[in-house]
């Protein structure tokens, strides 16, 4: 049988020849002609030196520097390139023991013989100076420069957050990070990591067998430039923040102050706190362990994560909803005998209208207003009316995360009607079953941040902005758009008049007013005291307030744990904070000293 295609084998042979020729030509080019590769033919190796860009700086709202960088030096080692060296001398220079030297080499060798690993982290500038001079005698070692965070003041640790080494999970999930890189772990450092970190650069050097740099690889063709991180302007007022932390010293609790017209967080204190510089550099892991084991939980950000029943500070909202639902008017009066059914009250004139009820914090009034809201004939059932009531609360920002730029905010808790259906059975619970909600007790939980935001909404007469901690990140200098939109509460601004009037009377109303001792000359404060019930010990003292009344510039929520009634501790602290912010000075020295002198933590520990 004659194969008609037999000649085609020549075409295939030709194809083999051509293909091999291409391979050989290319190999000839890269191996023999191209100098850039041959330069490393004499047993030279490449060293990838990563340039860590300076992390972005963080400023406060008045342009004062909060966080900056300082240089740090890591000693790197490539175990495969080390030769016999004077270990003792090296250890003396580096300030480590010979045993620790051996251990470190072993660890590095286990990672890789030919790739660099960190031998000694963050040596001091002095050690660096000494070591760098003698470095040529220790082949395989070199120093890599990095930056560490430096804090202008030992405050605002919870807001700023801290930076730490990436863990394996991050390295695997995000190709940008390599082992040993730093990343923001909490606070602004975490939420704005991408803006702050900038972009790493890499220089590829040719290094001879003695570890000396011989020059750039391929004239730097493959190098990349590092870009510094962007600076961030925070919304906090560092003086106010510092003052807040001072006032909260020796007390546990939190302060959140917000500028109502923007939602910018002016101060956010969680006490006890810690000095942010504790979590920088070599000492970080030890200090972190200590802070973590501290029974007072300094790492826990109470302002965002502690959920308390709001207590009487909730009454303005209960009143507002009742007004909006038209089950009461500003003039509606409810009797108090004292108290309402099984809810007690203290003695005050009776009956009261809404503003006076807020001033006296009358439990009876708000229980009845709440009962009317739930038994409103407009709705077919208590449960439907309750869901309506709950809708107002979620519009105020309760029960969900506010979606701020904080990293670890908790949502709090506003039960749905189904919660009670499960508990009591559908249709088997009535207004009186859940009456304690009307005075801010019961199942609800709110965070200090949510309370401050609610206060801002009252100050604005009906709307609020998402609280945020960063005014501008990156080069644009603009506030991210998610923080510039108004959230409406669904309550008409006219309904705020009697409630704000009542909050004014809380401070200025004279005898019977719950916070009459905290006034500041020249500024009208509107506030509301509260007591968050604490099943574990003495109740928490709560105070919310905003000032000045007509054009509010600050809205604040203060929580002091285990301090009893709101008027005793939280109210004067709120007053001092507002005075400091609005006037820049404190007229009432003894009030300040009184607060500063109190040590509630010691008292609590004695008990």
């Amino acid at each position: 049988m004659k194969d008609p295609f037999i000649n085609r084998k020549y075409i295939l042979v030709l194809m083999i020849m051509l293909a091999s020729l291409m391979l050989l030509a290319r190999l000839f080019y890269i191996q023999v002609i191209d100098d850039s590769y041959r330069a490393s033919a004499e047993s030279n190796v490449l060293r990838f030196v990563t340039h860590y860009p300076a992390r972005g700086l963080i400023y406060d709202r008045n342009g004062r520097l909060l966080v900056s960088n300082k240089a740090a030096y890591d000693v790197m080692v490539i175990p495969g390139q080390t030769t016999v060296l004077d270990t003792v001398e090296f250890c003396e220079l580096a300030g480590i023991t010979v045993e620790s030297f051996r251990d470190r080499i072993r660890v590095a060798r286990r990672y890789s013989r030919m790739a660099p690993s960190v031998f000694l982290k963050q040596i001091s500038a002095e050690t660096f100076g000494v070591l760098q001079e003698k470095m040529y005698r220790f082949p395989g070692f070199y120093v890599q420069t990095r930056t560490l965070r430096e804090y202008a003041k030992p405050v605002a640790a919870h807001i700023l957050g801290y930076v730490g080494e990436v863990d394996d999970n991050i390295v695997h999930s995000n190709p940008y990070y390599k082992p040993g890189d730093y990343i923001g772990i909490t606070g602004i450092e975490k939420s704005y990591e991408e803006q702050l970190r900038g972009r790493k650069g890499v220089n590829i050097y040719l290094v001879d067998v003695h570890g000396r740099i011989k020059g750039s690889f391929r004239d730097g063709e493959n190098d990349t430039v590092a870009f510094a991180g962007s600076d961030i302007v925070s919304t906090i007022d560092i003086d106010l923040q510092e003052y807040g932390e001072l006032l909260m010293k020796n007390k546990s609790g939190s302060i959140v102050a917000i500028e109502p017209s923007t939602g910018e967080v002016l101060a956010l204190v969680s006490s006890p706190g810690y000095d942010p510089s504790l979590l920088v550099g070599r000492v970080r892991s030890d200090n972190f362990r200590q802070l973590e084991q501290d029974t007072l939980k300094p790492l826990f950000n109470r302002a965002l994560m502690a959920s308390y029943p709001p207590g009487s500070t909730f009454k303005p909202v209960v009143g507002l909803i009742a007004l909006q639902e038209k089950v009461i008017t500003a003039g509606t009066g409810f009797g108090c005998s004292p108290g309402y059914l099984f809810v007690g009250c203290h003695s005050h004139p009776s009956p009261l209208n809404l503003a006076d009820a807020i001033m006296h914090s009358c439990n009876s009034y708000f229980c009845q207003a709440f009962r009317r809201t739930l038994e409103n004939g407009v709705y077919s059932s208590v449960s439907e009316a309750y869901e309506r009531w709950r809708k107002y609360l979620t519009d105020f920002g309760f029960g969900n995360r506010l979606n701020t730029d904080f990293t670890n905010e908790l949502p709090g808790f506003i039960p749905q009607s189904t919660y009670y259906d499960r508990y009591y059975g559908a249709g088997r619970w009535r207004a009186l079953t859940v009456i304690s909600l009307g005075i801010g007790q019961g199942e609800i939980g709110t965070t200090p941040l949510q309370m401050a935001s609610m206060t801002a909404a009252i100050a604005n007469r009906g709307y609020f902005y998402t609280p945020h901690i960063v005014r501008s990140a990156g080069d644009t200098g603009e506030t991210p758009t998610q923080f510039t939109g108004r959230h409406m509460t669904g309550i008409d601004s006219t309904n705020f008049i009697p409630v704000i009037e009542g909050m004014d009377l809380v401070v200025s109303g004279g005898p019977g007013a719950t916070a009459r001792h905290i006034g500041i000359p020249g500024v009208t404060i509107c506030g509301k005291t509260g007591t968050a019930e604490n099943p574990h010990g003495k109740d928490h003292s709560v105070f919310i307030a905003f000032a000045p009344k007509e054009s509010p510039r600050i809205a604040i929520a203060v929580y002091v744990e285990n301090a009893g009634f709101g008027s005793t501790m939280a109210a004067p602290i709120a007053s001092l904070m507002m005075e400091k912010y609005l006037t820049g000075k404190i007229h009432n020295r003894w009030r300040e000293e009184n607060i500063l002198g109190l040590n509630l933590i010691a008292v609590e520990e004695e008990r």
């Binding site: 049988m1 037999i6 085609r8 084998k9 890269i30 990838f48 030919m114």
Partner: protein, 474 residues
């Protein structure tokens, strides 16, 4: 008409020698790639060179078994073997183990088996079995389609894993089809498609399309030696387009240029038809159809590249073509590979003296990028030697294939050659930046049990057929 033959005498010892040499060189380089002064022991089964010894030993046993089996088995059971492998390829999609994002492995007590490595041999058998019949004529579309379907079936299943690299290897069957009588136009079209693909990715679609039109025009004019009609047509069209453009620009923008282009296309079509019929130039029609097909293809490629390929595949192609440079990112493998091969220089750094290869910067150093070690430690001289050994193997395979009396054995031999050659070119090409990074092993050199066993079976079945070439006429 059985004529008993002593296999020991009739087997091609030259090929076996080359095979053993390549396997040995492979082991040496695997040893070098994972070499560590701390663990110099050759027989260390925790290291890859230790494991490879086991795989090599197993491969020799497999080779022996393949040689002992009656050669007719491969012919008569080709469909069963093929069916079995296809079944395995389906099965691996269901119960396979996912490694590096591809469900390509069966695992038996720590030993991974990759059915796609054996699909090459099974497909080669069945293609040879199908084409051996004198009744098959590859110029008939029906027969061609059947042959293509035979190797596209495993390809589809392998793409589902997804293991694009292994799937691409089956393109090599077109060489086999070409040798067995497929129209050369198909091979050339394929080549044209590859070139157009690269051009489309490198340049804007429109430029490539216009370039093709100009090229076709020049060919027609030069080849037909009719200058007047085409140039007149060109002048008319140029005038129209210029007129449309000027109208838009200086008088009134009514989309004159678009109208002009549409009219031009109509005139071009009519003119071309007239031209073809007037001078009875059928081949102009062929060129015209080719042109249309190519232009459609360009836009399809552009769409497919941007919408169907996964980002890492796009980047790999882009890096080869020099569009993207990202030495620490996606181009990292290639960059490191180039550095290590390039730094080998003319004579290399010496065995076990390579520095780049031990950086552990090139992943897959002992599998897909084994040639880096060759290039770095043995230099250009060593690279020539290794390529030379492969060339010896390829030429020998062609000689062996051509001396077969049965079409089955010859076509199978060409399949073996084509598959090995394709791996050889793509693998070495990718380590030196000549072709995109496609993760396929270098036959006999790369680390890995499945691939070594797959190639061994592929090769030794052919040697078995060759040893009995005088026995039967299958």
């Amino acid at each position: 008409m059985k004529r008993s033959v002593n296999i020991l005498l009739s087997v091609d010892w030259l090929t076996i020698g080359v095979y053993l040499l390549l396997v040995f060189l492979g082991w040496l380089n695997i040893y070098a790639a994972v070499y560590d002064e701390q663990h110099p022991s050759v027989i260390d089964f925790s290291q890859r060179y230790g494991k490879q010894l086991v795989w090599v030993f197993a491969a020799l046993v497999i080779a022996l078994i393949v040689m002992l089996v009656d050669n007719r088995i491969y012919f008569f059971f080709s469909w069963f073997i093929y069916g079995g492998v296809v079944l395995l390829l389906v099965l691996v999609l269901i119960i396979g183990k996912e490694i590096n994002g591809a469900k390509a492995w069966f695992e038996f007590g720590g030993v991974g088996l990759q059915p796609s490595e054996f699909a090459k041999f099974a497909t080669a058998l069945v293609v040879a079995r199908y084409l051996h019949s004198p009744a098959i004529n590859l110029t008939r579309p029906r027969d061609l389609m059947t042959a293509v379907a035979l190797f596209m079936t495993p390809v589809m299943l392998i793409i589902l894993q997804p293991d694009l690299g292994t799937a691409v290897v089956f393109i090599s069957f077109f060489f086999v089809l070409f040798r067995a009588g497929m129209s050369p136009y198909i091979l050339f079209s394929g080549l044209l498609m590859i070139i157009l693909f690269l051009l489309t990715i490198l340049f804007d679609d429109l430029f490539v399309a216009i370039g093709l039109v100009i090229l076709a025009f020049i060919i027609v004019v030069l080849q037909s030696r009719k200058f007047l009609p085409p140039l007149t047509g060109l002048a008319v069209i140029a005038a129209l387009v210029a007129g449309g453009w000027l109208t838009d620009r200086y008088l009134i923008n009514i989309g004159g240029i678009e109208v002009a282009i549409i009219i031009s296309l109509l005139i071009a079509g009519l003119g071309l038809s007239w031209f073809i019929f007037r001078y009875k130039l059928k081949w102009v029609m062929v060129i015209y159809l080719f042109l249309l097909g190519s232009i459609m293809y360009i836009y399809t490629v552009d769409y497919a590249f941007n919408n169907l390929l996964r980002p890492h595949q796009q980047t790999r192609i882009n890096i080869i073509l020099g569009i993207e440079s990202d030495p620490l990112g996606k181009g990292y493998n290639l960059n490191q590979s180039l550095i290590s091969i390039g730094s080998g220089g003319f004579s290399g750094k010496g065995y076990l003296q390579g520095t780049q290869t031990k950086f552990r910067f090139v992943p897959e150093q002992s599998t897909d990028f084994i040639f880096c070690t060759v290039g770095e430690e043995w230099g250009f001289i060593g690279s020539i030697a290794v390529i030379g050994i492969y060339l010896l193997l390829f030429f020998r395979l062609i000689v062996l294939a051509e001396r077969q009396k049965s079409a089955f054995a010859r076509i199978y031999g060409y399949s073996v050659f084509s598959i090995l050659f394709f791996h050889f070119f793509i693998n070495i090409g990718m380590t030196i930046g000549l072709v995109p990074v496609i993760g396929i092993p270098l036959p006999f050199l790369s680390y890995g049990g499945s691939s070594l066993w797959g190639f061994t079976i592929l090769l030794f079945v052919f040697l078995r057929l060759d040893a009995s070439r005088t026995e039967y006429l299958l």
